[in-house]
Structures are given as C-alpha cells and as structure tokens.
Symmetry: C2
Subunit: 191 residues, 2 copies
C-alpha cells in the first residue's frame, strides 16, 4: 500500500504492537542483531522523504523504460510514494551490523511480521529498498553507526484508495516439486 | 523448530496452503521472480542432508568457540538439525535470478509467510542459510540454473520436543525512536 493518509497519525499502542511482532520473528542463532528505528519526527521524515524522492527520480527513468515493462498501475503507485514518502506518519528503518545484505535472512522475516501486524490493524505499509543508492545520507539523518547497514524503508499509515489483494502468477509457474522445472501439486496440471 | 518428526509426513493440502501463503507476500514491483522448490523425494532430501551435515561440521567448530558464545541449548538444537536435515519430511529451497542476496527483500518476506502458515497448521520450520558454503552442490542436486541463486533451506515437519516462545531481548534494546540510540516507547524507560 503505497498511498498513505498523511493527516491521520498512528497510535503509539499500534506502533508498539507492530514493533513487537517484528521482534518475535526468528533470527539466526536467535542473535537479534537487528535494530529498528521508528521515525515519527516530521523534520526527519521530510529529510528521509527528500532523499527517497531523489532516488525515485533516478529509478523512474529506468522503471519507465520499455525493457523493464513495469505495470502502469504499479508505476503510478510507486511514483506517488516517490513524491510522498516523507508524509507517511511513520517510517521504520531496520539496521544490522556489517556490510549491506549480510543479515537479510534475519532482518526481512521481522519486516514481514511487522507488515502483517500493521495490516491486521488496518494500517498500510510498503517495503522499499530504493533509497539504498543514497544509503549514506539515510544513515547520516538517523545517526546510524558506520559499521551498521540499513535494510529497508517502511512507511506506515492508514491507506488511501483501493486496497485489494494483489494479483499473483499461477502457482505452477512459481513452485516446483523436487527439482527445478517439475510441476508441483496435482491441481496444477490444469493451469 | 529444529527437531522434526521424520516419521510423520506433511499432507499435500497443508503444503499447498503453506506455499500459497509464501506466494502472497509482496515482492519488489510485484515481480514474483522467486521460484520455490518443494523437496519431498527421500533420495534428494538425503543428498541435501549430507551437504548440510558437512556445512554444520564446519560451522560447529566456529559456533562452539567461546568468542561466538552461542547459547548451549541453541547449539544442541542446531547440532540436531545438522545431523538430521535430510530426515525432515519436506525441505523448501527458494531461488531467485541473479547473484546471491540481490533479491533478499523479495524472497524472505515470502519465507516468513511460509513459516507462519506452517506454524498455524502445527508444523515446525527453520530458516537456515548454513548450506550456502556449499551452495553449488545444492544447486546441482535440485537442477537449479546457473543464473539463479538459492536463499534458504527450510525443513518442514511436525515438531518433536518442547515448542515454546523463544526469549527475546527487551524492546528498549532493539528499537530506537527517531534516531539511533533514542529510547522508543514510554514504558521502555522502566526496562
């Protein structure tokens, strides 16, 4: 959900619930090295939004090209987020020690827990990594130590506009049985 | 849940439910480039288990060292998985195009959905990336194309032994408000 209501804040109780869901996800060896920065200060959000907007402008050129073939509706929605990231009532940035990506398997399960908990409370979120081309600026804005990396930018807020289930490809195209290329599931022989 | 019942199979209906939950997670631009290999064949599971066992032996030396300070209970549980991976009734391996890690933000949210759906059905799972030191062997066993990378090995089965909620560090240690180091949440001032 990339269109969020800038004028409707998220309650502290809901934020607590969402964050606690994130912390309950498993991490490698239960190491719990992820640190979650919950940004509500409007000045900081605006600065993050300005960085994100610059990244969006750069990415949009590529995403609009015919070879990328991005769905038009997704492009417009991503464009909205590109221009309005800073207006999301809350932006969460998970961080972990080490170079970018090394802790992905421990960070993103928590991100998904956070997004599911938000959804259950009627709150929309998006997982974006587009800001990564200007990660150093994000780290500076949020005082993130040099030896940590960021993993995502997750705006949270009440949804604006249509909130439907996204269309997915058929299971037979995405899932294999035993080996790459083998059909999974009996009913998939029909698709 | 690293101790699974080797003698109790997972129904095809449950596997379908679990896999469909994985596919419902969001992916970047809804690109859905993850391919999920669901391994039930015992010969293939045994081969994956042998690779994983070799990785475990190598990792155990490091994980047992005092500087890593791995919790003893986790070490024993990880050791069990190291010796019994191939006996899990099902092993899921998600893959995506490109070099390792590039699609993490699109793969692991689906992995977490899969693990939550399994949990809701009474099935235990573990997310491990320990096999990655011998990823080429895993790719060969499962016929995964050269231009794709694996992201995890996820054994699925009915749990053996104690299944409790894992202990987590206090929220105040893991979550910051607005900036790195700032306390999040009013109640955290007490912790």
């Amino acid at each position: 959900m990339r269109r969020l209501d800038a004028g409707r804040p998220v309650s502290e109780a809901d934020l607590q619930t969402i964050i606690e869901a994130a912390l309950k996800a498993a991490t490698g060896s239960n190491s719990q090295t992820t640190r979650w920065i919950v940004v509500t200060d409007s000045g900081l959000r605006n600065r993050l939004g300005a960085v994100y907007q610059q990244c969006w402008v750069q990415a949009a050129e590529f995403l609009a090209s015919p070879e990328y073939a991005l769905d038009d509706r997704i492009f417009r929605s991503a464009s909205h987020l590109g221009e309005h990231m800073g207006e999301a009532p809350v932006i969460v940035v998970p961080c972990a020690p080490g170079p970018p990506g090394v802790a992905s398997a421990s960070v993103f399960p928590g991100v998904q827990n956070l997004m599911l908990a938000a959804r259950a409370l009627g709150l929309g979120t998006t997982l974006t990594t587009l800001y990564a081309m200007r990660e150093s600026e994000v780290k500076e804005i949020l005082d993130i130590p040099e030896d940590h990396s960021t993993y995502a930018m997750i705006p949270i807020g009440y949804p604006l506009g249509r909130w439907a289930e996204a269309v997915r490809k058929p299971t037979a195209e995405l899932v294999f049985h035993d080996r790459w290329g083998s059909v999974f599931g009996s009913q998939n022989s029909d698709t």
